[in-house]
């Protein structure tokens, strides 16, 4: 049993370790998933901010360009130049560029830019600035030519000259826009688009890489888990086999123990029984009566078959033994319920009558036993018959100190019976 408990403890510890490992793996998984979620989320947030700022700057650039085109149109197309409209558009261009600068600065302030995207952004910014500067140069030139027309102090002649000067400038404006300004705007705008594409691709790549790594780690963790499950399975199988072995050993032990008990019982029976007749022996008689001698009274009788030696001498011990066995069998059958029967020596029997058997009944049974023993028996197809002597004793409490002295008294009485020719019943006299 102790061994079984030890095994159970061993497998129990294995399950505890497995549970702890499972918990650790689960926590690691949670940490990694959370880390990946945060990393991916930050990447997306930053990328969307980047895209937002650059797209906003690009939209403002488009809007500024539209205002530039309106200036080009106003200056170039109308006969009478609408100076107020030109000035309003110039103001709008100025505001748009302030917004462009703001958004590009915000983009620059973001951290962890993709190197390639940021390099492209820096180039885009140079083109934005070049576009702005070029615009600013021509805007200055335009405003210089418009100044005399706006000023109230200018003479009509000067105004006429200024108008002609502006007219010449008008002719150049569409070319200036197409040849010098638009390419810078295109380069700025497309490089911003390229920067967004590069940044988005890099962010997607980073996220894909993070997720791939997570999947890989999860797969490895699942493999570890799987290995753990297999180990648990093997431990469970080993434990089951060990338990089965213990059960088998326990059953064997129980069987052996039972056999031992039976052997012991048998041995005990053998000690108190006569093997030949199956009746209790002298040793049993001692055990049964020892405690009764001091304070009980009972009827006891001893029977001996006269001249039994002659049977052994004539027919052999085997014959004699069979004869005695048949006698004993018959006695057990006929008187076993009235008395405890003993075979105290080879052909000497003893009967201790039950408490409910009265003295007269006892004497009657003694006679019955004598008659039974003295009746003919067929042994090995040969009928034999011997007379029987007996001694009876109505024992009174305290008559004898021990069983031996009781038997001495009864043997003396028996001897007297035999001495007087046998086939007699002598009573032990109480003194």
């Amino acid at each position: 049993m102790a061994k079984k408990e030890k095994k159970s403890g061993y497998s129990g510890r294995a399950f505890v370790i497995a549970a702890v490992a499972l918990a650790v793996i689960s926590i690691l998984n949670m940490i990694m998933v959370y880390g990946t979620y945060r990393g991916t989320s930050e990447t997306y947030t930053r990328t969307s901010q980047e895209i937002n700022y650059i797209n906003k700057a690009n939209e403002e650039l488009m809007a500024a360009n539209e205002a530039v085109l309106r200036v080009v149109g106003d200056v170039g197309a109308k006969n009478e130049t609408d100076l107020d409209a030109i000035l309003a558009n110039i103001q709008e261009i100025h505001m748009r560029f302030q917004s462009i600068d703001y958004n590009l600065n915000q983009y620059e302030k973001l951290e962890n830019h993709d190197e390639k995207a940021f390099r492209r952004f820096q180039q885009a910014r140079i083109y934005v600035n070049a576009y702005h500067n070029k615009m600013y140069d021509y805007q200055g030139m335009l405003q210089g030519k418009m100044a005399p027309l706006i000023s109230g102090d200018t003479s009509d002649e000067k105004k006429a000259e200024a108008l002609k000067d502006l007219a010449v400038f008008k002719q150049s404006i569409p070319f200036i826009y197409e040849q010098e300004i638009e390419p810078l705007q295109t380069a700025a705008s497309q490089m911003m688009n390229a920067s967004v594409s590069i940044g988005s691709a890099a962010a997607n790549k980073r996220s894909a890489m993070t997720i791939r790594t997570l999947y890989l780690v999860l797969a490895v963790m699942f493999l570890i888990l799987l290995a753990g499950e297999i180990t648990l399975f093997l431990i469970a199988r080993y434990t089951r086999r060990a338990n089965e072995e213990i059960d088998r050993k326990t059953a064997q032990f129980a069987e052996a123990s039972s056999k031992l008990m039976r052997s012991r019982e048998k041995m005990e029976n053998i000690a108190v029984m006569n093997i030949l007749t199956g009746m209790k022996n002298r040793y049993a008689l001692d055990q049964d009566l020892a405690d009764r001698l001091a304070d009980e009274q009972f009827n006891i009788a001893v029977f001996d078959m006269d001249n039994f030696r002659s049977i052994n001498d004539m027919y052999g011990y085997e014959f004699g033994d069979e004869y005695l066995a048949q006698v004993a069998e018959r006695l057990r059958n006929e008187f076993g319920q009235h008395a405890e029967l003993y075979n105290i020596t080879g052909n000497e029997f003893c009967a201790v009558f039950n408490r409910e058997v009265s003295d007269s009944q006892a004497l009657h049974y003694v006679e019955g036993i004598v008659a039974c023993m003295a009746s003919p028996y067929t042994v090995f197809n040969l009928t034999v018959q011997l007379t029987v002597s007996a001694s009876t004793y109505h024992y009174v409490a305290g008559d004898c100190l021990n069983v031996n002295s009781l038997l001495v008294k009864m043997d003396n009485a028996l001897r007297n019976a035999k001495r007087q020719g046998g086939a007699q019943i002598h009573q032990v006299m109480n003194i």
């Binding site: 010449v168 390229a194 590069i198 699942f222 799987l226």
Partner: protein
């Protein structure tokens, strides 16, 4: 035991699923498709090598940044159409998605380009364009031209040249020293320069006549004014267009001769890198710095030094890096848009029932900067100059 067995099978299934997911994640989340794009340049000749190296650098930067596969090739001999035809065949064999070519002839490559286009390759032109007019054997399937607007190069130079010439009086003239009589880019620069210069000077001189004191106080009769203005309008202020053999040496000799023989010439416009170097050498040798305004095209270390010394008044700085970069950028955009349309035709049906064409501009002008010693330090100028310098440093390594 049954429970353990079930758990084991469940764990095995989950692990298998996770492993599959992990391996599939590598395929499913594939980054942007690597389109194969071939860029066919024009020349390896030393006098223009820097220019094309920058085109190549721009193309390869775009490929690296945007995730495309770009091959850059140059023909052995720029004068042979067959060399570029061979490269177009090579592109077909390699199964590229797009070709960005700088054609060395506006019409002679068109048959090959049409064949390539029919086989599914998208054709883009860079630096020089092909003829598009179908009637004159043009190539109508060209998706976009990405390069310098060469008329603008001439035009921008002409606006500045006009301002210079106008100050020199009615007799001052300009001369164009041109690197090629056949190349589209050369012709366009010449035309752009000539047109704008004449327009600008004629307007300025006409207004100057109209605003002259004699006209204002009525001492000059209107008929004379009209005759004078008509004379101005009929004058070509580009006195001559002289073609070099493509080398700096040839340009130098021509410039020396012009300065010697034509005192009215106050502006010389050199149409490419080699011609610019040659003209600068001549101006320096002739000691005409300050009296002759030389305006060139492109910039390298030598030209930059001439600018700093004041020998060269200005140069039109082209942006070959952007030519290469935007060629690949727009080719990739076109291919990506094509895929979008192909994968989602329903959303790309136009009002008239036709399927939308991929949307990119038919012409992308990569621009040219008018660079003088004064704006040499501007960041936009420095950006282009540094790209060239980076390339030169790499070559030295």
């Amino acid at each position: 035991m049954m429970r353990t067995g079930k758990r084991l099978r469940l764990a095995a299934c989950l692990a298998a699923c996770m492993l599959s997911a992990a391996s599939l994640s590598g395929c499913g989340k594939e980054e942007k498709k690597r389109y194969k794009i071939m860029v066919i340049g024009q020349s390896k000749e030393p006098q223009v090598a820097d220019y094309w190296k920058n085109v190549e650098k721009g193309a390869k930067d775009a490929a690296d940044e945007l995730g495309y596969e770009v091959t850059y090739l140059s023909p052995q001999d720029i004068t042979k159409v067959s060399d570029q035809e061979g490269l177009i065949d090579k592109a077909k064999q390699e199964g590229v998605d797009a070709i960005c070519i700088a054609p060395n002839n506006p019409t002679k490559l068109n048959a090959k380009l049409k064949a390539a286009s029919r086989s599914g390759i998208q054709i883009f032109t860079i630096d020089s364009d092909v003829t598009l007019d179908e009637k004159s054997d043009g190539f109508t399937e060209r998706r976009s031209y990405i390069g310098t607007n060469n008329e603008a190069v001439g035009g921008i130079a002409a606006r500045q040249a006009a301002a210079i010439l106008a100050k020199q009086g009615e007799t001052a003239r300009a001369v164009i020293i041109c690197h090629s009589s056949t190349q589209n880019s050369a012709t366009q620069r010449v035309n752009g320069f000539q047109d704008i210069l004449n327009t600008q000077i004629r307007s300025q001189l006409s207004i100057a006549v109209q605003n002259s004191e004699g006209v204002l106080n009525g001492t000059i009769p209107p008929e004379t004014v009209e005759t004078k203005i008509n004379s101005i309008k009929g004058t070509n202020y580009v006195s001559e267009i002289i073609y070099t053999d493509g080398t700096a040496k040839s340009a130098r000799e021509i410039a020396l001769k012009v300065m010697n023989e034509k005192p009215e010439v106050k502006v010389i416009f050199a149409t490419d890198e080699a011609a610019t170097e040659g003209v600068c050498m001549a101006v320096e040798e002739a000691g005409k710095k300050g009296s002759i305004s030389a305006i060139g095209v492109h910039c390298n270390d030598k030209i930059k030094k001439y600018l700093e010394k004041g020998v060269l008044t200005a140069t039109m700085m082209l942006n070959p890096y952007n030519v290469g970069y935007f060629a690949v950028f727009y080719a990739g955009s076109y291919l990506a848009d094509m895929e979008t349309i192909r994968d989602n035709k329903k959303d790309n049906i136009m009002e008239d029932g036709s399927v939308r064409e991929p949307s990119i501009p038919k012409t992308v002008d990569t621009g040219a900067l008018y660079v003088t010693s004064e704006n040499l330090k501007d960041e936009a100028v420095q950006l282009v100059l540094n790209q060239i310098a980076d390339q030169q440093d790499k070559d030295k390594e």
